[in-house]
Symmetry: C2
Subunit: 773 residues, 2 copies
Amino acid sequence: MVKIAQRYLEIDPWRVVEKGFHPEQSRVSESIFALANEYMGVRGYFEEGYGGEQLIGSYFSGFYEEAPVNRQAAYKGLIDRARFMVNTVDWLFTRIEMDGETLDLARSKVRDFQRTLDFKSGTLDREFIWETGRGKQLKLHFRRFVSMVRPNLGAQQITFTPLNFSGPVQVQSGLDFSPVHAEKKRNFWCCPRQGVEDGIVAILGKTENLGHKLFSGFQLRLDGAPKTGLIEREKFIGLEFVFDLKCGEPVTMTKMVTNYAAQNPGLTVDEVWQQGIRLAAGHQALSFAEALAEHMAFWAEIWRDLDITIEGDPENQQGIRFCLFQLHQTFHGANPGGNIGAKGLTGEAYNGHTFWDTETYCLPFYIFNNPSAARNLLEFRYRTLPQALARAKELDCNGAFYPIATIDGTESCGLWQHASLQLQVGSAVAYGIWHYTKVCGDLDFLYTKGIEMLIEISRYYASRGQWSPRTGEFGFYGVMGPDEFHMMVNNNCYLNFMAKKTFEFTLETLARMGTERPDLLAAVAAKTGLQPGEREDWAVMAAKMRLPQDKETGLYEQHDGYFDLPHLDPASIPVTEFPLYDHWAYDRIYRYDLIKQPDVLMFMFLYNQEFPEEVKRVNYDYYEPRCLHESSLSPSIHSIFANELGYYDQAARFFRFATRLDLDNYNRNTDQGLHMTSIAAAWMNIVYGFGGMRSDGPVLTFNPSIPREWQAYRFRLLYRGAILEVSVGQEEVEFKLVQRSADTAAVKVKIYGTEYLLGDSGIKLKIPARFRQ
Amino acid sequence: MVKIAQRYLEIDPWRVVEKGFHPEQSRVSESIFALANEYMGVRGYFEEGYGGEQLIGSYFSGFYEEAPVNRQAAYKGLIDRARFMVNTVDWLFTRIEMDGETLDLARSKVRDFQRTLDFKSGTLDREFIWETGRGKQLKLHFRRFVSMVRPNLGAQQITFTPLNFSGPVQVQSGLDFSPVHAEKKRNFWCCPRQGVEDGIVAILGKTENLGHKLFSGFQLRLDGAPKTGLIEREKFIGLEFVFDLKCGEPVTMTKMVTNYAAQNPGLTVDEVWQQGIRLAAGHQALSFAEALAEHMAFWAEIWRDLDITIEGDPENQQGIRFCLFQLHQTFHGANPGGNIGAKGLTGEAYNGHTFWDTETYCLPFYIFNNPSAARNLLEFRYRTLPQALARAKELDCNGAFYPIATIDGTESCGLWQHASLQLQVGSAVAYGIWHYTKVCGDLDFLYTKGIEMLIEISRYYASRGQWSPRTGEFGFYGVMGPDEFHMMVNNNCYLNFMAKKTFEFTLETLARMGTERPDLLAAVAAKTGLQPGEREDWAVMAAKMRLPQDKETGLYEQHDGYFDLPHLDPASIPVTEFPLYDHWAYDRIYRYDLIKQPDVLMFMFLYNQEFPEEVKRVNYDYYEPRCLHESSLSPSIHSIFANELGYYDQAARFFRFATRLDLDNYNRNTDQGLHMTSIAAAWMNIVYGFGGMRSDGPVLTFNPSIPREWQAYRFRLLYRGAILEVSVGQEEVEFKLVQRSADTAAVKVKIYGTEYLLGDSGIKLKIPARFRQ
């Protein structure tokens, strides 16, 4: 794996700092300095306007528009329209003019530039000194945040300090619906209403195709209360004013913005407008300082248990905090039925779509930090079950076929080879239900919504799978597994294994419900029209599932015929040919034993405890050298295995990539947005990797180890209502019960193979030789 | 195979006759009544204008335009522009008005409608009586032909006979560039020049994207020489005049049209215009009757040897003559480097593209009827070798990769799964060179152009193929074979076999050249940069090619893993679900053992003599029941095998479909154009099927049989300069040497397993019991 860091930011434990402006990294910085509060997100762009490379990106979670898809032919099941997260209003819009010059960091003379993202305060600050052609020096300080407490509130503050002059500066501040959606290269808005009401300067945008509406309104608070003038033009409303600056005296402009995203096209323009005005009026009494204080209090509370410390490795310390900050910003479950786009709210790549990453990579983070957020992620799949049922029909199948890429539950991946052949999302949802209910014990969810999804997913796999005429086994033909370097293969091992697990968990849950809650069983059977024959079929399909494995070595064959594929040593491929998608003929990618990301290793990760270590070793030793890690999700899983197998050098190498993927722009595409699901994997890399935690067995298990370079690391987990803290040093590990659960005084855990009851007194252990690096 | 005839045309041995107009079949008729002369083709549309369903289709062989392709993503090797046969000028444009009514068969009152396509004369006639609202009865007779002698000449004659009145009829006659390209739903023309010059009314069209130019000019000859007025509008020029009709007296309008298609965009408008005017001037002295006489003389000469007679089966007699007529019209090799589109010049479906059908299905017809046309087809591949070299590079390969669909040598199939994965065209070209030179003995071609193509094709296969790590065999991974119901498979047996043959023939030819023409060998080695190591590699690849076959039964496996594919009995699929492409989810098509068309059987057809009958039987018995025949090319090949294996009922059933595919519209898509390459297969069905001819062994071989329902059939073949006639009755077969070749008095043939020298005295044999149906 050849990945080279591209570093221009300062190392700091709690902040990302850019000292001196790096215009060549402008779009990368916009992604890294992005802010969000789950409801809305905004890239770290320059609000005063910028003549260089930029993406004015302002997004709302799950807020989408629709556009036609370039499909090759009108074959059945190929989608012709797709939904995507739409770029919205630039609510930070500002223009600053002095001496007839407009401030623009691409052209103006500036010095002492510094930009700071602070994880503790959840704020973005930027300051620099602007010198005009006539030598006037104006110090500017920009601050912004999006409130974690009030989802609709965004706040901006700009402080002007004239260093060597007195005189006027002209300022415009507004709301701009004209920015272009970068990926689609066009704007999707019209603005049927704008104006000033109750002192709120407001504008309402409506998307072209779906008619989704977005209200944006603001109030300005200006030191010295200069007179303001209204500016109105197409897709824009704002105020202009003049600050009469006095040498050395700072003056401040504060803009409190209320955004309201109304996805429901049934709401009229007037209804959305009125609701927006009401929300904005609710923010009228709130000062910037008050809003910031409650926002910072929220973050302080969060960091108490969310934080991971790494002593002796400032780079990864910063990296992991950046990951935790961004992940929590993007999604913390405040919004039931929401989900996480591959780039969060930081860019348009992947269209704001959710993939199977949510259940396989992100869910563990929420299960052990924020169970209600975990449930909300599963609620998204329940909310979109009707779309999955409809999609299965389109593809001549029964039950529920969950889409490979979606923002609202409809399939929105325009590449049929992925949309029609990748069947793993359903099994990931089933796995997510299993993992969530196993750890969090939420039987209410399992016995109502969970079981309904499980039945429909099992039904889908039963209708999509087929029987081998040669061996009488069950399996899936014509599929693409998680490894996207092999298309239309038969019996992808991952999919077969996961479908088997889906059948088994569905049957087990139905059986348990028969004993524990026959009433709910009857209800779901009636709702889904479940037939007794179906349960029998699923049992046979699970029992007869093809899982090709070399009996002697334990090596699984990734799919039928994989072992016959021509071998290519990744080291023989020139570095300039990565990523292959950009440099190789499309069809060439698919005819080697090269893999893009873990496939066999992936199901061994998800059901880790079911496989003996030696089987994991054999499979890791075989598949890792064939893996190109062209998915950003790949290195963390390999790092976790490398830790388990004692390949500590490899573990450290893969780990480095995970925590600082975006800060060091390893994949050279951070400009498009942050790799949000990889960020979740970075958390797993510490907890499952170095911490050696396993949550798929009967007892929560830990086998901590520590890189030689670190002095110590520490993380907390929320587990069955209790808060555990794990501290690992070079010699010892310590487990503490930071907070008891409501119902038990102690928590059962297994550490280095021995079961313990973790109570108030904690547990301290020497690290056994086997786990010393 | 469920195919149902849709019959509305008369049965007639030498004509297609439509009695009474069938508006619901209007577009089907346009295809069936199409005329062509290889240079240009015109559908049988109503030139006077028609308010019903119609496709005003006027095409020129190989005359194309370019348009963007809907590709899914910008992956390397996926084409973004494709070329297609463009719809051109309506040179038959006519409007007829009387009593303020415009003649239009969709609205006007007409009776005694008859439309006749005459194979002997190569003319299309149409007549009917039109009665106006005021009761005037005008008999109209339309005749048209496109001259087989003068490629640029089209002629139209309309005779007006007033049955019950005297009075004026207004007529317009013109050239119209405004018809829409039906497939692309738009017009691609602008007309930079039009006017009258030297008595020629002319217009020049230019295609929008490529700037290809087409000149069209006409002269009218009018009985009674009424005064004409010029009509000019956008994309149109014409004349209008009034015939003063006298009751009972016919008057005639004759339009002699000269079309000149200038594909070369380097030619200026003026150059093309001048050349068009010169060509039109050359037709000035020619009368309609003279032009028709030479045209009919041409056809009489052609029919002498081209004809196939079937006694006792008027339907198939008509069917096979229709096939021969259409195939000869479409292509007879007058135009070196031309080719045959899947729909010939009769429609826009398949974009006028040439596929591998040319070499595998059409070439045998030309080899045994018209060797110079056969060579011209191969010249097309030589002319487009540079494009194939460039295409291989685009796909990260060496040598020449011939496109799956093309009009000018560039890949124009917008579906990457076909364009990138179907590799069989190169081997088909190699086969065509082999078959042509084997039968026609054209070593000049083989040792110059042929060998150059063979080297580059072999080079391509060597670079695209890979070595199995499991068995050390060579083969092709990630391909689609001729059977398009399996995508991205490994070691498609057809492709592997054909590539092996390609390597072997290339090496054999190089070896022969080393002995016979070392000078030419040196020349081609220098031109292609041939390295000695390459020949060694090809020899090893050929020797080690994977051809998976059950040793005991002789059954080939169509590709790796085919025998493990779930079985579906075609009889279990409801008839309403055919064709599968239209009714099944796209991905569903690919996961059964269903096949679309012969694949293993196809290489056994092409190299028939290399396989023992029992091996052919085993493979036919296995694969035929799995074949849906969703390619129109499929039934003929199966009929030929069924004849060979003595399955005469099956042979007859498949044959019926072949000869009357379009006349009976079996596939319900004749409206889009005639299935030109299937038409060639119909010829093979008689000669190779019933005649039992095999041309791939050392001696030309025949095993004639005859369906019980037929009294006799007869066909002729051109073979090594001689003309053979084969007549088959219920008891006897007779072989005659109708014309000796220049160099030998007798031709060696093998009949029913015995070799004979066929001389002037001919051979008469009883049909052995084994070949009696």
